[in-house]
Symmetry: C2
Subunit: 232 residues, 2 copies
């Protein structure tokens, strides 16, 4: 069935720190083992789902992130209720890319091709103005490379109004599934049912200028060059 | 800055149940108010991020879902550790579609166009075989319409091996941001900086047949017709 479960088995990673909660448990082939895989998954996107505990229940919030390879940065407001209640609370930050549907001969063997990363830790509120500026630059450039040097940077007042959180990448795990369905060598292969993968792709579309934009302001190359290109 | 925070203000919805945790708090314009919006967001995708509590910390797991408009179904294994530890635990299931980057004149006003839904509740493990079959059909047809009648359906043994969870849509909230950046009428409009939206689109790609597929088995229309079409 369609499922991609991080609660799956792999050997402890050589390069990613493995804890009880990042040790995969069931499908050996799907657990990631390298820091390079983690970096590639984080580089390929900009949206994460952040899990925080609020009043004893989990809350899952979509938000953008940026990373420098050691730390992942995100906005504090998304976790504000949790952080106010419990500033030392662990969060789980998950990044997922769906690459396609795995269409098997049997419904039971259906699945999803995907790449995902889960990062656990206690985020740190960035207070130092210089570090905050560097973190916001990292986040902005991760989402839209070239934009930090093009758009107006945060003023001192805006910087003070921005809550930025930093989370270490030390406790992380990755999961990847690729390739065709797994029932091509079983009895279901005789059923005459088509099997394979229906890929799903994310692509940047044509730029839509703000209707309020003054005449004669062209889009900069770092944005125009992205059009029709794949995400990641 | 790039952020889409569910912790934002709107009036209590007329049609979605509003609780302390689904009441948005800050940006009035972004809170959804109708069941139709929720249904549209859930219909437009098939991947959710499920937040469960494990050993006192949140765990955020990507998984597929299906919905009949009243209940959302997902696989039990993704929540297995949590459900074993605490079968009555509340989960948070979040579905997010990113529609584009909102590129403003100032970094501070950057954002994301998106649609998201958050559903809270205590999932119920579906035990009755008939209800389980109906739920799996709902999930399968939600992800890949036409596949339930095409692929081999679950055997009794497979059905028993499949854990299916049902979550009511009663406690839900939606959030949507659309349109251009908001700084077109402020002092930054004089900066001569291009502003607008860089859309992001998800599209189904060309079918990739399983290399193990026997000759002469063509893909069925319900799959072939999806190629090059947008998700949702």
């Amino acid at each position: 069935m369609f499922e991609h479960d991080p609660d799956q088995a792999t050997e402890p990673s050589d390069t990613l720190a493995v804890t009880e909660r990042t040790r995969h448990r069931r499908l050996r082939e799907q657990g990631g083992t390298s820091r390079a895989e983690l970096d590639a998954i984080l580089r390929a996107g900009f949206l994460c789902h952040l899990g925080v505990m609020v009043d004893g229940a989990p809350m899952v919030v979509p938000t953008v992130y940026g990373t420098d390879g050691t730390t992942i940065y995100f906005h504090g407001s998304v976790a504000s209720r949790s952080l106010v209640a419990s500033p030392e609370a662990t969060v789980c930050l998950t990044v997922t890319h769906v690459d396609g549907l795995v269409l098997a001969r049997s419904v039971f063997e259906h699945g999803v091709n995907y790449r995902s990363a889960m990062i656990y830790g206690v985020p740190r509120a960035v207070a130092d103005p210089e570090e905050k500026l560097a973190g916001l630059r990292c986040l902005t450039e991760h989402v839209t490379p070239g934009q930090w040097d093009y758009a107006r940077r945060p003023s001192r007042k805006e910087l003070a109004a921005t809550a930025l959180l930093a989370l270490s990448l030390d406790e992380a795990s990755v999961k990847v599934r690729t390739g065709p369905p797994d029932d091509g060598d079983g009895p279901d292969a005789e059923l005459g049912v088509w099997a394979g993968v229906l890929p799903l792709r994310q692509t940047w579309g044509a730029l839509e200028a703000d209707p309020a934009l003054a005449e004669g302001i062209a889009a900069p190359a770092h944005l125009a060059d992205r059009v029709d290109r794949p995400l990641g």
